[in-house]
Assembly symmetry: C2
Homo-oligomer: 210 residues x 2
């Protein structure tokens, strides 16, 4: 504890990842990583401010939090920073109307976004929805735009499920970047803005966070 | 004709592309590009040696040539350099057993290749077979190899069909390169070996070809 005490000197807040850190997802649910339920409970009982910071983009925040609660975690929707709400903010600020290539389970996050006559493409970890047909449609939308804008919720290479490694959105982002000759704008980790936003909600400076 | 005479001074052979040059493909067939049937006929009546050099990897050479013949082109299978046979040569030479992610229509090109217990991944323009499931399987095979080898038949960004632009194999090559941290070996254009092989068959040096 003395070592931890030293390491935590000056630390006021903790950002926790979710997938692969608190739990491994699997078909229809997930499995907590041993010790993680207790670790979250102890952190929340401490003086430290805690926020969950995830690139999860296959599930809405509501669904993700519901799953975590069922697995025994003390967590609420308001404690989670995830890329879809951050992206919605950007879309609104810049008057962007996305063609969405996302998992059905996060479509609800874009309920209030105008998707008519798209002037950008937004992709997330779409899983099986990354079909050739859907990828080709996203590609064609980008190629028809005078100033193509590609927004990607994260740029992960892969993630771990109980069944093994799974291709993440970053691979498909690279495919569209190459085909269209564009560079994607990444919303989510490791974008500094994403972390800053999470810290701002906690009221903690970057040097005070772990 | 005088201008052409000058431009062709010293030229003994001509390599012709096929898709997008001789014809545009479409669902179930293709449409010749105006003037191309006649141009091929005139070239073949001339003193020039002619060979067709294509990255087409959705159809076997047999099917491609059959289609071109139906469209009116004077062409035979032996006159075509395409990436699948070139790849088979490489696989045999290096003792590589591929996990194939290719279109059903070119599976026959790999009839004589051992695909058991794969020690590499080979991708081609697989069209609808570029599903998430199939891409994920190719990714997992690569990740399990100590020395991952990814072979890509071409690295085109997209090609034109009568219905519009279509994502080509290069986009999916980039996706796997990024996810696995590997660099693909490209068989087909623009690889110099591929052109050299086509010229060798013609018996023409590079400086004598157009």
């Amino acid at each position: 504890m003395a070592v931890w005490g030293e390491r935590l000197a000056g630390v006021r807040g903790v950002l926790l990842d979710i997938s692969g850190v608190l739990f491994d997802s699997c078909e229809g649910g997930g499995v907590p990583i041993p010790g993680s339920v207790e670790a979250v409970a102890r952190l929340k009982q401490s003086q430290l401010k805690v926020r969950f910071c995830t690139n999860e983009s296959q599930k809405s925040r509501g669904k993700l939090v519901g799953l975590l609660q069922r697995l025994g975690f003390d967590i609420s929707e308001g404690e989670v920073t995830s890329p879809a709400p951050a992206a919605c903010q950007i879309l609104k600020e810049r008057g962007l109307r996305p063609h969405l290539l996302v998992h059905d389970d996060i479509l609800s996050e874009f309920d209030k976004i105008d998707t008519s006559n798209p002037n950008c493409v937004l992709i997330a970890d779409a899983g099986d929805a990354f079909s050739y047909k859907n990828m080709n449609k996203a590609f064609q939308v980008l190629m028809e735009l005078e100033n193509p804008v590609l927004i990607s919720l994260g740029k992960g290479r892969y993630y771990k499920e109980t069944l093994g490694l799974m291709l993440d959105v970053g691979a498909y982002m690279k495919a569209l970047e190459y085909a269209c000759g564009v560079e994607a704008e990444v919303v989510g980790k490791p974008s500094p803005e994403f972390f800053k936003n999470a810290l701002q909600v906690l009221g903690v400076e970057a040097h005070q966070a772990q």
